[in-house]
């Protein structure tokens, strides 16, 4: 089951937030939640890099609590995709990579009317994202 998806650009702006089966509403205003999320990811990245006994290639991949699992994928250009799912979902790096390559690049980067550092407003992109997510086997 997929709960929600965050996309952050390399400066930490949340360019997209979408949710599907989220049961607990956020008790914070949205922008504060995005800041917290980005801050946590930032610390997680440096935490993992320092703690690692060997040299990291990808670094942080995912974490899991008793109720959910957070998957993280970062492109070399610094775009960060974060997806929260239920704990029974395995490794979905490939899915996140497809989401980046087939949806974000196709319908945001190739759309000249979409500024890359602002929240995405394109309805076309949102439709495509919705279709992509709903077609996933673990949706």
């Amino acid at each position: 089951m997929i709960f929600n998806l965050y996309i952050f650009d390399r400066l930490g702006t949340c360019v997209l937030y979408a949710e599907w089966n989220r049961k607990k509403p956020a008790n914070l205003p949205k922008d504060e939640e995005f800041q917290n999320m980005y801050g946590m990811l930032f610390s997680l990245r440096s935490f993992v890099k320092r703690l690692s006994p060997l040299d990291c290639k990808d670094g942080f991949l995912n974490y899991q609590t008793s109720k959910y699992k957070l998957h993280y994928y970062e492109t070399p250009s610094g775009l960060k995709l974060v997806m929260n799912t239920s704990t029974d979902v395995g490794d979905i790096r490939e899915t996140l990579r497809q989401l980046y390559g087939q949806i974000y690049v196709e319908y945001v980067v190739k759309n000249p009317l979409c500024p890359l550092d602002k929240p995405i407003t394109s309805d076309f992109f949102k439709d495509k994202l919705e279709t992509f997510i709903k077609a996933l086997p673990f949706y």
Binding site: K24, N36, F47, L51, S52, P53, S66
Partner: protein, 195 residues
């Protein structure tokens, strides 16, 4: 299939116990000609590789020794002369440099433990589901972190090889050992480092 290290973090987020087991070696020694094709920079008062990863030497590796002379920070360990000056002089080449990761110092471990303490709390807070625990398993490509928080708030953290499944049994056993041998020690005061 190995356990790399174990940490115990108190209720307040301070590190009360840590131990390392079979940490893998990453040292690489190579001979270089002039000019050096690796760019070094000073990070955290130590010389690290900033650019030019090759032959097993990776970005972020520390300079450990020059021609077998150990390096301490940015100076030689024996006569405290500057390493960068030595590397800049052409007559010293060819030169043999040893690079590798260095073990975490106690201070860094304490810092990372309290960092994990707050990450754990953020994990609960940002949950999309009601009543979630904090981080139990954290995966990276080189290791896996397993954490178990007891009802009293003590965290047992185990770092292992990424292929290992959740080591619940080991975490439970650690808690038993802690209750038996740390808490039953009359000279032990709670939340203080275990000696």
């Amino acid at each position: 299939m190995a356990v790399y290290s174990v940490f115990v973090v108190s209720r307040g987020g301070s590190l009360i116990y840590d131990i390392d087991y079979n940490v893998p070696k990453t040292d690489v020694e190579k001979t270089f000609g002039y000019p050096l094709d690796i760019v070094l920079k000073v990070f955290d008062e130590k010389l690290t590789v900033d650019f030019g990863a090759r032959d097993g030497i990776k970005i972020g590796h520390y300079l450990l020794a020059v021609n077998g002379r150990p390096v301490q920070g940015t100076v030689f360990d024996d006569d405290r002369t500057d390493v960068r000056e030595f590397l800049g002089q052409q007559q010293n080449y060819p030169i043999s440099l040893k690079f590798g990761r260095i073990k975490l110092t106690v201070n860094e471990k304490i810092m990372l433990a309290s960092m994990f303490h707050s990450l754990f709390a953020f994990g609960c807070q940002l949950s999309p589901e009601e009543r979630s625990s904090g981080i139990q398993i954290l995966e990276a490509d080189t290791f896996k972190l397993h954490c178990r928080q007891t009802l009293t708030g003590i965290k047992f953290i185990v770092l292992t090889d990424p292929r290992l499944p959740y080591v619940e049994g080991l975490l439970k056993r650690l808690y038993e050992l802690y209750s038996d041998y740390a808490l039953k020690n009359p000279y032990y005061s709670i939340d203080m480092p275990i000696r």
